[in-house]
Subunit: 498 residues, 2 copies
C-alpha cells in the first residue's frame, strides 16, 4: 500500500539558503545553562561538538546552536522555556530537520529537540484516535495505526525522519491532501507550551467540540513561533483495502481540470491523488540515468498520475477503467495505463518522485512550492518560463510538477553558473506574479527564512499586522523561533528589505 | 437529494434561557448615533420598534437592543466598528437568529445585521469555490452550488434562516460531518473586521496555503467575540448522484461502533451519516400524534440511520445491501430496511427529525448538545438517567439521539413542573460528568450565554487564560459580543459563579 518516496539528502541544494537569521543571538549568562542543567540534567543540555552533531542533517543546515536541550517531559520543557523567557533567550524547536525553508535555523540560539518524547502513547481503536508525543516520527505513527488495521493518511517523503511535532508545526501536506486534507485536518487536539512555560493542554479527541476557541489552530502551521507542540491526538481512518493507480497523457492543459472533475465524479469519493508533470519534466524523470521507465511514450504535453483508494479492489478497478475509457473517448486523455500489480503501481509513483531527484542531480537548484488556482496555472508557468529565459537565456531550466488537484505546483529551477548571486532575482520572478492571481508563495513547505521577504506577495499589511499582534500576545519577548515567517519591528512586521 | 429538516420555532423551549448578559450595557452618547447615521445612512440605524422588529425570532429571544445597524459594505462596517470601539460601545453581530445558546443576545447593546450583504458574489466552477457575503443564507449558497452541478455539504435544519456569517461564527455542524466535516472544514478563506475597524481580508481560495498564520481560524467558532465575519470563500464539492439510506435496529450498544466501523470499511469512503436514536426516543418519534411512521417495529434498544452518497446508484446500493446482509448475519443488526425510493428516504429522515420536534411538544424542555467518545456514551447516558431519576423522580423524561458517528449526542430533557427553577441543577447533572470522560459541553451549538458557567468542565484554566489573552489582543476594549463564551475579569476569565 505504501509508496516509495525515498528520502534523499539535498546535497548541493543549498542555493536558496539564507544565513542571516534576523534574530537576536548573543551569549546568554552562564547561569542560564546552570539553571537549565538543574532542570533537565547535565546530559540533556548539549554544548559544543555534541550540540553540532545533534543538529546534523542532510537537508538544509541549521547553523551552530549555542546549545541543544533535550527535555524528557512536558513539564521539563515548560520549566526550560520559563527560564529562557526570563533571560530573553531565543530558542528554536526542531524535529527531524527535514524542513525545506530553514524554519529550524538556530545559529547562536538554543535549539530544543523532543527526541526523548517520541512515544505513541495510546491508540484507541473504538474511537479511531491516537495520542502521540511530538518527537514521534511520522512513519512510526503510520505503522502503529496499520498494526491495528487503521490508517493515518498524511504522508510525505521524509516520513522516516520528520517528527509529528514538525509536521504539525508546519502543517505538512503531501500526496493525499485532495482526499484527506493537510495535517491540520487530521489532528483533533494538541498540547503545546507557550514561551512563558504555560502548558496549553487541548488534547481533545472528539470530532466535534465547539466549547470555546479552537486553540490548537494557533500552533498548527505557525512554525514554532507561537508555542512548542509536545503532544497531539491524531484522527485515524478506516484503512483502505483497494488501490488503483493510473498514468495518463494529456495534450491540452484545459483537459486537466475536466479530467480532475471527471475523476471526482466517476470515482465516487475515492480519488486521493491527482499529480501532474509537465512534459519536459516527465522526459527528464524517465530518461537515463534516471531509474524510472517511460511507462507512456515521451512527447505528450502533460502526464497525470491518478489514484483512488477504497474498499473493493475489483469494483474500484472496474470503475476506474470506465473512467479512463470515457476520458479516452471524450478526448481528454491521449493515452493511459492502469497499474495491474503493486510493482506497476510503484513504477508509476517512481516517475512522479524522480521529478525532484533528477532535477536536483543537475546542479545547483532553487526549489519552489507555490499554489494557485488551476485555471491560472498554465498562463503562470508559461510567463515564468518566458521571464526566466529573458533574464537567464539558456542558463535556466524550469521543471514543473505537483499536486494539481490541490492547486499546488512544485517548480524546480536550475540556473547554470554561480547560483547564490541570482537567488533573489529568481525568487522575485517566481513569487511576484503570484500577487496578481492571489496565489500563495507557500503551498505546504512554509515560510521559514526563505520566503519571509516575499510574505507581502500573499498576505496583506493588515494580515501581517494581525500575525504580529498574535505573536506579541503569545510570546511578548519574542523568544520562540525568532526571525522565522517574519521579523517583528516595533508594533508591526518589518517590510521586506528590498 | 435534500432532506426535510423542517424549520421550527422553539415555542416554549425557553427554559435554559438566561437573561443576565454579563456585559457592560449602558446609554451611549447621542453623538455616537449621529456619527453612525452619518456613516450608514439614517435608514440603516434602526431604533425603538424598528430595532425590536428586526431582531424578532421564533428561536431564543435576543432582548431589546439599543439599535440595529445595517452596514451595506465591509467598509461601512469597519467605520461603524471604529466608532463603537472609540466609544467603548458593546456590539453584537447577528445572522439568522437561529442560535440555540443565545450567542446573539443583545439586550442594551448595539446589534449588527449583515442582511444588506447577502450576495453570492462569484462561483468559480473550474476551481470549485464560491465567494459569499456573510448575510447570505446557507440555503441560498447550497442552491447556487447545485445550479452549477456542484455541492456545498454543510447542512443544518435552519438552512433557510441561518446566514453564512452565523454558521461560520459558530462553526456549525449538522448531519454530514462524518464525511465532509464542520463549517471550519469547508471554508478556504474569509474576511472579517476587528473591533477597531481593521479589515482582515484573508479571502484565500486555495486548498493549500502555508504562507504564515492561518488567520481565518480565529473567526470560525468564536461566536463573534474576535471579529465580525463579512465574506467567505467556500469550498465546493462534486455533487453526489447516488444516495442510499437505511434504518436498522440494534440490540446492544456495543454493536453500534462495530456497525459504524463496518460501514466505514464496507462503503469505501461514501458513508456520510450515522445517526442513532435510543429506543424510547424512537418510540416517541413514531407514535401518534407524531407524523412519522414506525418503519421498523418498536421494542429494539437502538435505531441507526445510515446513509451513503456516491456516484453510482446501482453499485452503491448493491454494496449497501451487502453491508446490511453481513451485519444481519454477524448479529450486529436485528432488523434493517433500505430505502427504495426518495419517498422512503424522506420517511426515514422524518423519524430522525421528529425526535426533537416530539420532545419539544411535551412542554418545557432543556436542549443539550454534548460530545464524548462513543465508548463512553452508553455508561454516560445510563448514569445521567439515573441521576435525573434520583433528583426528579417521574418528573424527568430523557430523550437521546444524535450524530453517533461524530461522537455528538443531543439530549432533550423534559422536567414536568416549573422548569426555570431547576435549570442549573439539570445542567450540572448533564455537564459535570463530562469532565471525567473528557467530553465537551458543546459539540456544535457553541457556548453563548447558556454554557459559559460550565466552560471549565471542558476547558482547563490555562486554555481559558489563553482565550482571554486572544480576546484582549484582538479586542482590547471588549466591545465584541461581550459576555458570550466567557466573562473576562482582569487578566483572566471569571470563574463560574457557583
Amino acid at each position: 500500500m505504501s509508496k516509495s518516496h525515498p528520502e534523499q539528502g539535498l546535497g548541493s541544494l543549498v542555493s536558496n539558503r539564507r544565513r542571516a537569521c534576523g534574530a537576536r543571538p548573543g551569549s546568554p549568562e552562564l547561569s542560564l545553562f546552570d539553571d537549565l542543567e538543574a532542570v533537565l540534567g547535565a546530559g540533556n543540555v548539549l554544548r559544543g561538538e555534541a550540540a553540532r552533531e545533534k543538529v546534523h542533517t542532510l537537508y538544509y543546515p541549521v547553523g551552530t546552536p549555542l546549545a541543544v536541550l533535550r527535555p524528557g517531559t512536558t513539564d521539563e520543557l515548560s520549566q526550560a522555556l520559563r527560564l529562557c523567557n526570563a533571560a530573553g533567550q531565543p530558542v528554536v524547536p526542531f524535529g527531524g530537520l527535514t524542513n525545506l525553508v530553514e524554519s529550524a535555523h538556530a545559529q547562536d540560539m538554543i535549539a530544543i529537540t523532543l527526541e526523548r518524547m517520541a512515544q505513541v502513547e495510546v491508540i484507541d481503536t473504538v474511537n479511531s484516535v491516537m495520542t502521540v508525543q511530538a518527537g514521534c516520527k511520522l512513519q512510526t505513527a503510520q505503522e502503529a495505526a496499520e498494526a491495528v488495521d487503521l490508517f493515518f493518511p498524511v504522508d510525505i517523503g521524509a516520513r522516516g525522519s520528520a517528527t509529528l511535532g514538525g509536521v504539525l508545526s508546519t502543517n505538512a501536506g503531501g500526496n493525499r491532501v485532495l482526499r484527506w486534507g493537510m495535517m491540520r485536518d487530521n489532528v483533533l487536539g494538541l498540547e503545546a507550551v507557550l514561551a512563558d512555560g504555560t502548558v496549553i493542554s487541548s488534547l481533545n479527541s472528539l470530532l466535534k467540540n465547539n466549547a470555546g476557541y479552537d486553540l490548537k489552530q494557533l500552533f498548527i502551521g505557525s512554525e514554532g513561533t507561537l508555542g512548542v507542540v509536545t503532544r497531539a491526538v491524531l484522527r485515524l481512518r478506516t484503512r483502505p483495502t483497494s488501490q488503483c493507480t493510473a498514468l495518463v497523457a494529456v495534450e491540452d492543459f484545459e483537459a486537466l481540470p475536466k479530467l480532475l472533475e471527471a475523476a471526482h465524479r466517476g470515482l465516487g469519493g475515492t480519488l486521493c491523488a491527482f499529480e501532474v508533470m509537465w512534459g519536459d519534466t516527465y522526459r527528464l524523470a524517465t530518461t537515463a540515468p534516471a531509474p524510472a521507465l517511460p511507462i507512456l511514450p515521451h512527447g505528450h504535453a502533460y502526464y497525470a498520475l491518478i489514484e483512488s483508494m477504497g474498499a473493493d479492489q475489483e469494483a474500484d478497478a472496474a470503475r476506474f477503467e470506465t473512467l479512463l475509457g470515457e476520458a479516452l473517448e471524450a478526448g481528454l486523455v491521449a493515452d493511459a495505463v492502469l497499474a495491474k500489480s503493486t510493482a506497476e503501481t510503484a513504477a508509476i509513483w517512481m516517475v512522479r518522485e524522480e521529478g525532484t531527484a533528477e532535477t536536483a542531480r543537475r546542479g545547483a537548484i532553487f526549489l519552489f512550492d507555490v499554489s494557485l488556482k488551476i485555471g491560472d496555472m498554465e498562463a503562470y508557468v508559461r510567463a515564468l518560463k518566458a521571464s526566466l529565459a529573458d533574464r537567464f537565456g539558456e542558463a535556466a531550466d524550469v521543471w514543473v510538477f505537483g499536486h494539481l488537484g490541490d492547486g499546488n505546483l512544485h517548480i524546480n529551477i536550475n540556473i547554470h553558473g554561480p547560483a547564490e548571486d541570482v537567488r533573489h532575482d529568481v525568487e522575485a520572478l517566481v513569487y511576484e506574479p503570484l500577487a496578481r492571481v492571489k496565489g500563495s508563495i507557500s503551498a505546504e513547505h512554509g515560510v521559514g527564512l526563505h520566503k519571509r521577504d516575499f510574505l507581502h506577495v500573499s498576505r496583506s499589511a493588515e494580515e501581517r499586522g494581525l500575525m504580529a499582534r498574535l505573536k506579541t500576545a503569545l510570546d511578548p519577548n519574542h523568544i520562540l523561533n525568532p526571525g522565522k515567517i517574519f521579523v517583528i519591528e516595533g508594533d508591526g512586521i518589518a517590510a521586506p528589505a528590498h
